[in-house]
């Protein structure tokens, strides 16, 4: 075996690997791709650890993707002087996180809960998988995983090719969209211009998405697919709905008893999405009851002219520019109408 063949092979391997990876990175950047972070387990756990910051220094956000798109973290930080801690998880019900925070005696801070009824009231099957995985990861994270997270985050901040959501092997194979047999369930994919995630876990759509109606229509088709799914799912029984409200009230009471502050927020949605939501989740039966049961403050976008006018290009999430408008209005309402105090209110 004592021959030099592996040395030559190793040099060739290095040359091919470095050249190909570099070419792939350059190609992606030239095609307009930008840095995006994997928002699951490790990054979620990283932000979850910050909830113990004093309430005058931070606000925690939980919910679904709307909270992640519609809250501009930089605007929030600039206006309030406080750190926004984004713990919302796209496509997931926020109640496991509410439960986690309520049972964490050290959490006494401010909490903004996004209410996307279809996810919040827990009627989609499997809409707790990612958030439960994230919570499990947070509770079981090993020292080795912590270090890996910091290295991974550094690399993700430098390399576009590490966008797992769109450029990984699995994502590329799925993007082939090979037709399935009848009856096979497969969730459709979103165009890659739709969802990018920064280190603060804020989601944003690209300029191309904002300006390209065909891309927006692709996402609208995904929502129509979701509505079709919804048709096959029986509505929550009165008993189940009562249990959901009771559980929310119980958790809200625990946090408020420790001095925490909670506000529910119904972020904008438009078009057929909003129409469908109104039909399935009439305001008086869900939103109004939620506020009445929990005795918490609430901000519904239809109650505020500025929010009501905001347009979601794909019916459900705001553009980065409108996220700034939304965040400013949110801070104003919280400060002026809901009695929330912030370290520094600079200006609207």
């Amino acid at each position: 075996m004592a021959n030099p063949s592996l040395q030559k092979a190793a040099w060739l391997m290095l040359a091919i690997t470095i050249t190909t990876a570099a070419a792939w990175e350059i190609h992606l950047r030239k095609s307009g791709a930008s840095i995006s972070y994997d928002e699951t387990g490790p990054l979620w756990a990283h932000h979850r650890k910050k909830v113990y910051m004093p309430s005058e220094e931070a606000t925690v956000f939980i919910g679904s993707s709307r909270n992640k798109f519609d809250l501009d973290t930089k605007t929030w930080q600039d206006l309030t002087g406080e750190t926004p801690i984004q713990l919302a998880q796209e496509g997931n019900c926020p109640l496991p996180v509410l439960d986690d925070l309520a049972n964490d005696k050290n959490f006494k801070g401010k909490l903004v809960i996004d209410v996307t009824e279809g996810l919040f009231f827990d009627i989609f099957p499997g809409n707790r998988i990612e958030i439960n995985n994230a919570l499990k990861y947070y509770k079981e994270e090993s020292p080795a995983q912590k270090l890996s997270f910091y290295i991974n985050s550094f690399l993700e901040s430098k390399l576009v090719l590490l966008d797992k959501e769109y450029f990984s092997l699995s994502a590329k194979l799925k993007a082939l969209q090979i037709p399935n047999r009848k009856g096979v369930f497969e969730f459709p994919i979103f165009p890659m211009e739709f969802n990018h995630v920064n280190f603060e876990r804020q989601s944003w759509m690209t300029d191309r998405f904002v300006n390209d109606t065909s891309l927006q229509q692709q996402v609208q088709k995904v929502w129509l697919f979701v509505f079709d799914m919804l048709k096959n799912i029986p509505p929550l029984s009165t008993h189940d709905l009562d249990s959901v409200f009771a559980s929310i009230k119980n958790n809200v009471d625990k946090i408020q008893a420790r001095g925490g502050k909670i506000v529910f927020v119904r972020t904008p949605s438009n078009g057929p999405f909003w129409m469908g939501e109104q039909m399935v989740f009439p305001r008086e039966k869900f939103w109004d009851r939620l506020l009445a049961t929990t005795r918490c403050a609430g901000i519904h976008f239809t109650d505020y002219p500025v929010l009501k006018e905001l347009i979601c290009p794909e019916w459900s999430h705001l553009t980065p520019a409108d996220a700034v408008v939304h965040t400013k209005e949110l801070v104003r309402i919280l400060h002026e109408e809901k009695g929330w105090k912030f370290s520094t209110i600079k200006s609207r």
Partner: protein, 476 residues
């Protein structure tokens, strides 16, 4: 920490740097020992105490047992070692299982006994290092070897990080002598080690995690009744996943040790090209099957006490081997099925010698290929019990595989393609290389072919981005 993590890359780079500094050999061994403790503590620091406990018990007991001449006292010392090691294993791994079965028995007897579900975390790799230390005391008890004088060398034998948590299960004679002399890798060994590490990571990250875990999890996790195609695709995907996951780990372990200048025994030799079940167990998790053979099957009497006892010993070994894998009756059935296959094979072989001749000749005949395919078919049936969480799920999958119910389409076309093509690829590679070793093949190929293949492994590794999932065998 897991090999497929950024933390391990940093850790390994530091260990290699320290190992190749001009330091005394003893200092290097201390470095390796501390690194091994750090490697283990990076999961759950308190569990390091279990490693120390196991090390101290066996070191002390081994020394005393060797000098003790009184039979009863020797047995007592052996009991202490067994109780210490197996006691920890029983508590952490089988505590919940025993309690669950006890509760079940009470209810069968009409006694209303409800036990609180124990909240026990399984220390990573406890089954592996327990068996490794047990072999040390058993060898001394059986007068096969002498106790190790150096606590440092013994501690390193118990803790050596490349194989600490998922094997290969190393015997004292295979590793401790290597600690006696300075060991560093030559440049060629270093490259061989890095090549094996790349191959192992490719198997784990790309094949097992990125491509095969999806179809296997979708089929086994579905509430629907699977159609025949879906059931087979899911089982075949798991068959590939478990092989690539575990053999991938072993390949990494061997490669990492080689980079440090140490040699670990082979743990897998193309098992899916096995012609028969005795051949399969000479190719799958070799260090466990040889451990079970030497410390369970042979002490039970092996084949020395007549036909009937041979069959019983064989079955007992396989049943316990099954239970070693997990605290669930499904694992026992998995072991039992292997025992049953071995029975039939032995029965036929005793009459005709067909299988033995086929294995011994090693020729790639059509008959051998057909028998390898048949063996693989039967192995897949056993994997159903290994993967299913309970017998109801296993029954559902088996019925699907044999078309005993009208199942539904579950897997996507992409999942079907992944499962069938990758498994076909694995089977063909195993068949073609069944009589050789990876490095031998690598050296026979032109250097540029190896260079391209090696680059492809790494590029796919980067591309797959599945960086931190645990190895399946860690839970065992």
């Amino acid at each position: 920490m897991v090999f497929n993590s950024y933390t391990f890359i940093v850790f390994f780079a530091l260990v290699l740097t320290l190992h190749y500094l001009p330091l005394a050999w003893k200092t290097k061994k201390i470095n390796l020992l501390l690194a091994s403790y750090l490697f283990y503590a990076a999961w759950n620091p308190p569990f390091i105490i279990l490693l120390w406990l196991s090390t101290v018990i066996d070191y002390v007991v081994g020394k005393k047992m060797y000098t003790e001449t009184h039979v009863a006292k020797r047995r007592l010392l052996l009991f202490i070692s067994l109780a210490g090691n197996l006691g920890l294993l029983a508590f952490f791994k089988y505590g919940g299982f025993l309690l669950q079965n006890f509760t079940g028995l009470c209810q069968l007897a009409g006694i209303d006994f409800q036990a609180a579900k124990p909240d026990i975390i399984l220390p990573v790799g406890i089954s592996f290092y327990t068996f490794q230390t047990l072999s040390y005391t058993l060898d001394i008890y059986l007068r096969r070897s002498e106790p190790e004088k150096s606590l440092l060398d013994f501690s390193l034998f118990v803790t050596f990080f490349p194989q600490l948590v998922a094997g290969p299960i190393v015997r004292p004679g295979q590793l401790i002598p290597q600690f006696k002399q300075p060991h560093t890798a030559t440049r060629e060994q270093m490259l061989q080690g890095l090549f094996l590490l790349s191959l192992g990571l490719f198997m784990k990250v790309v094949l097992a995690d990125s491509l095969l875990a999806g179809p296997a999890n979708s089929m086994f996790g579905s509430n629907q009744l699977p159609s025949t195609v879906d059931a087979w695709a899911g089982v075949l995907a798991f068959s590939g996943q478990i092989f690539c996951d575990f053999a991938g780990y072993s390949t990494c372990a061997i490669g990492i040790a080689l980079c440090l200048g140490f040699t670990l025994p082979d743990n897998f030799l193309y098992p899916y090209a096995a012609t028969g079940f005795s051949d399969f167990w000479r190719r799958w998790h070799i260090t466990l099957s040889s451990w079970l053979r030497d410390y369970l099957y042979i002490p039970l009497g092996g084949n020395r006490k007549g036909h009937a006892r041979t069959y019983i010993n064989l079955m007992l070994t396989m049943l316990l081997g099954g239970l070693w894998h997990g605290a669930n009756w499904t694992f026992v059935v998995w072991g039992g099925l292997h025992g049953f296959y071995l029975w039939i094979e032995k029965f036929i072989d005793d009459k005709t010698g067909l299988v033995k001749n086929m294995v011994q000749s090693g020729k790639k005949t059509i008959a051998a290929f057909t028998y390898a395919l048949f063996t693989f078919f039967l192995i897949n049936i056993t994997w159903v019990f290994f993967r299913a969480s309970d017998f109801a799920s296993a029954s559902k999958v088996l019925k699907g595989m044999f078309g005993l119910h009208k199942g539904e389409a579950i897997l996507t076309t992409l999942d079907l393609i992944k499962a069938f093509t990758i498994i076909a690829g694995i089977f063909i590679v195993h068949w073609l290389l069944r009589n050789s070793k990876v490095l031998t093949v690598a050296y026979k190929a032109p250097w540029w072919v190896i260079g391209i293949v090696w680059a492809l492994l790494l590029l796919l590794l980067i591309w797959s981005q599945e960086s931190t999932s645990s190895f399946i065998y860690f839970q065992f």
